[in-house]
Symmetry: C5
Subunit: 293 residues, 5 copies
């Protein structure tokens, strides 16, 4: 994740950070420019199409459908952003709950109980780092795929990581209750924290293994492609060779929105704009270390 | 559900997966092409309508109303997507709660209590698979229909499946409490998990048996049909025979949005884009099996 | 409520169900047609307005304001749909909580306690049916009206129905606790369910007795009326007598959105698209009967 | 608040209720009419601007920016409506929680305990009416203002009203627990209700003392003003003297949306469309009286 | 934060408060005016471009893309406003929970226990003011940055402030429980309040240290810049020198939306429109002081 000064326009406008869509798109922008130029050349110099040609009115169709494309793309970006922000909220809760559990453990355990303290000091941050690995493995992405994945068969031995860590913490906590170290009231309190760990894990898995329905995303891509590729035919009549920068710019704007959505809809990947899971897991380790002595 | 690489444009644009709207629409796209061509032929070659014909200005009406149609369809798709995502969240919670219950049961039960362990090991995943059957039976879809459904009368003997499983689990848990195997504090903890099972069932039923109000969906379909069918009359004047691809494309875009909405608004069906309930129920069985020994 | 097949376009497009806006609107559509024809006749045949008349440019104003009207109406419909869906969620929760309470009661009460069982078997579904009557009485609609309603004075004797049923259930449950039939832990569990009954009642009342602010709805109706009534004046110049179907169609589209919103914003009425409260209350009775023996 | 029949169009369109924007706007509508007429007169009769004047193309700018203005205003109204509806929800919860607390108190207290019963019978509705006064005093509105408010200094003696009532109820409830009248389990149950009282108070204060950021609202007002004031210059060329009704109507539509937003964004005022807090507090008194004998 | 009268248009339209975008933008508005004038001069007087120049049709592209820019900016502002409002809600909850904790402490502690009372009287408001400092330090902003920040290394000694205060309160409360001053039931009640303190802290940190993804914001800035800078070229043909005010106004509108979003998306800064954290922390101190005697 990039932390930046949102008020610094000059940097935002002039920089071409490797995460930016313009960086990914530039070969296609050049192709698009050549394509638009070729059509302009063909229509103006070669075919010498007259002002009467029916092609000149095609832009009326583009403006009719441009609206639905625009609003669709803005909604698409917002849906993707909601997933990204939900992912951020979940890891925020994980941070909070790790802290809260540490706070509670520290004050519940009797003074001097080094053994249990060091157990929780290790296992709480372990949940976060196991979850990070779990979310970034490609096995998790294909969890709900109905096709077979023979490439993961050899992994099936490995059980679900975060579940194992959670089971370990649950077990130790129940032991403390049975041994009378913590009371029933305190168990209820701890339990709410513990459950939230597995709930957060499940919610993260949901975002990871459930992309936007395929029909939807495939429709948007088909729509953008046909829309942009037919753009130059009609606009040559009104813009002449200016059709080249105009079409390139329209292509840049429309595909960028889709590309941004693609990048942020899976917030647990390793793209530059994805969430800094490693940093967050480190912060959890640091905070828990500060709170349990 | 199809798991795909969202960044693979080539595949998305060129493939014609059986789930895609273009696959379902193509006979209608051909009909539309013939219809548009017929009108173009009629107006240009046969009637030889002059430039002065009032028909030529009809597109001004299409552009006035095109906006409200576009925004309506985008909202429609988003409302449907919200239902789909809510369905996914509910099954995500079911997965979590099944895991949590298993985690708790495993650590609450005394070591070596094979009998109760194997009860929960079977009945927790049973809830998920019963719920799946319940949601996919057409009786559930007509639960709130005010018309009689004599075709389901012979089924009325069968009581509500998921309720029966939940009742069984509740009963066993209360027995454990009465026998002193679990304490009052632990009962409160288990109870919250148990209640969420029936809450999830109810929420899934709600999505299944309550479609978008009929007036609303019927209005949208009437609107699209009239809009698209009147499109060629006016545009022939400005586009000539190009009206054929233009109208076919507009038809594809507008009806696709409605078709996508139709497919995802009921996430518990057996369409290709519906949720993989069977896979999810399997995963629950697998996870619970790992957690209860 | 109408349960229908969302994928059946033919039926949706050709049917004119009594719930549909077109059924309600058709006298006005005819009036609108006559009105538009009269204006067209006046301007074309009688006044013989020239192409230079300033009236011909009025549509530029309609297209400037058409956008704000469209987006306003789509938002209006969505706000109304949110109320309808919230109402559906509340009755879904009522169904769930009735089931949950029945499940708990059945397993908490000692075997053979027929008396208490039959009390809960009757009173739980009674809450749902009392709530239905309460929501459909017009007294509830005017609960927050600041004007006097002398017509309800003779009813003031009748106390708030659902409250009375809830009080009865609360009382019996506390008696069970005092008699030691249920423990404190179990009381806490039951209590959460009981409170949700009155919370659901309150939330339903809120939707029932608080319409969209009057200024807002009155503004939208004024806006649509002026917009549609001024539509033919300018469009006669570009559409001639085609202005009649065009204006009728625009009128149909814009008023339909408002009519749909009006119908679904109060989900507890007895319109065809309103929620099937009676059916739902029956289902609750059926489920509770199955769960408490 | 005005309770009305949403299906009565005739009343909505023809009435000019004092709450409506048209009532507030009409002097400005007249001014606007004079202003537009003056510009039309100036451009047509006096300056006799030719068709070639660059002024005639200014509307292209209005249509470019009209879109962003429209969508901004519709969002503005919806944000304001959300605040209004949140306020309504909060008071709905207050009603529910007052009822629930009364229900619980009535069944928890031993039969014949007149003293405590009459305490709660008085103090529960007192919270609602104190909150109403608190929300309608202008001191609450300026709670977060960073400027000094010497005019409230003499009030500073008065402590926070609703807090005092809540403290009183909390104290009495803890006394009941200490005296053994209610058990620990029952205290937990009552406590959740009690806390919600102060939470509701805080959330209402938030809506009251935090308006939309000043930059945002000031920007919208500047935008509307400049937009509408420059409207007649260009449209005179296409509409002639018809520019007068057209501009007046556009002015009416655009400013109405902002005026409606202004009125409903603070739901606790005493405008006609604000929430009927007094009526609601009365209803709470009535219901609590019915439930505690 | 500025508290203002939303109904005072005159003040909003004519004032140029230092927080307003027009104040920040005015040097750029002047630059823009000069730039637009230079292009107009160049095209009209110097190049004397004919009506046939292809440049004159460039605005058709601006109107095609103007829509997507408008809707993108309005969504951008709304997303930023949601963050601002979420921040306000969190501090509202902090106020409520501080009050609630004070209310509970006051009534739970035995009469005359001055020592514990004064501990909570000091430490509850201390949490709020420590949180304020924490959120306004720039170290918090860079918490998730993946780059090294050597400038904060010397600060690493300082542990996480709000966590330390929370740990202190937790510890004291557990001590009270161990000493038997408060019962287990009361501990559960207090605990829920205590946990919400650290949850609020975590949620505030999330808003502070996670800006909108960089690609997204950088794309919007690039889009606005190119859009506005190319605006005058084509519009000179239709507007002549009127292009200067028109382009300046478009520039003002479009960049203002982005500037407002930038200002309110981080509600914990020290901009004029940011939340009055200091005032709020003061109010907490005042209220807690009133409630704990």
């Amino acid at each position: 994740m990039i932390i930046y000064n949102p008020k610094d326009w000059l940097h935002a406008v002039l920089s071409f950070h490797r995460s930016e869509t313009i960086k990914k798109l530039y070969p296609y922008l050049i192709l698009m420019a050549i394509y638009a130029w070729a059509i302009a050349y063909l229509e103006i110099e070669y075919l010498k199409l007259s002002e009467k040609s029916w092609l000149r009115n095609i832009p009326s169709m583009h403006s009719l459908l441009g609206f639905v494309l625009s609003i669709l793309l803005v909604f698409r970006t917002n849906t993707a952003y909601d997933r990204w922000w939900e992912g951020r909220k979940l890891w925020g809760q994980l941070t909070n709950n790790s802290r809260n559990l540490a706070l509670r453990i520290e004050s519940l355990l009797p003074e001097g109980d080094k053994g249990n303290r060091s157990f929780y000091k290790k296992s709480i941050p372990l949940f976060a780092s196991t979850l990070r690995e779990h979310l970034q493995s490609s096995q998790t992405r294909f969890m709900l795929d109905e096709k077979d994945h023979p490439e993961f068969n050899h992994l099936d031995e490995n059980k679900h990581g975060p579940n194992q860590v959670a089971a370990m913490i649950f077990k130790r906590t129940d032991t403390l209750y049975r041994e009378g170290v913590i009371s029933g009231d305190q168990l209820i309190i701890l339990n709410a924290e513990l459950l939230s760990f597995t709930d957060i894990c499940g919610a993260c898995e949901r975002i990871k293994n459930t992309p936007i329905p395929f029909t939807y995303t495939s429709f948007i891509k088909k729509f953008i492609s046909i829309y942009v590729l037919t753009l130059p035919y009609g606009f040559v009549f009104s813009l002449g060779y200016f059709v080249v920068p105009a079409v390139v710019f329209a292509f840049y704007v429309l595909t960028s929105l889709e590309l941004i959505a693609e990048e942020i809809e899976d917030p647990f990947g390793t793209d530059v704009n994805d969430l800094p899971l490693e940093k967050m897991a480190d912060n959890i380790r640091k905070h828990v270390g500060e709170l349990i002595h």
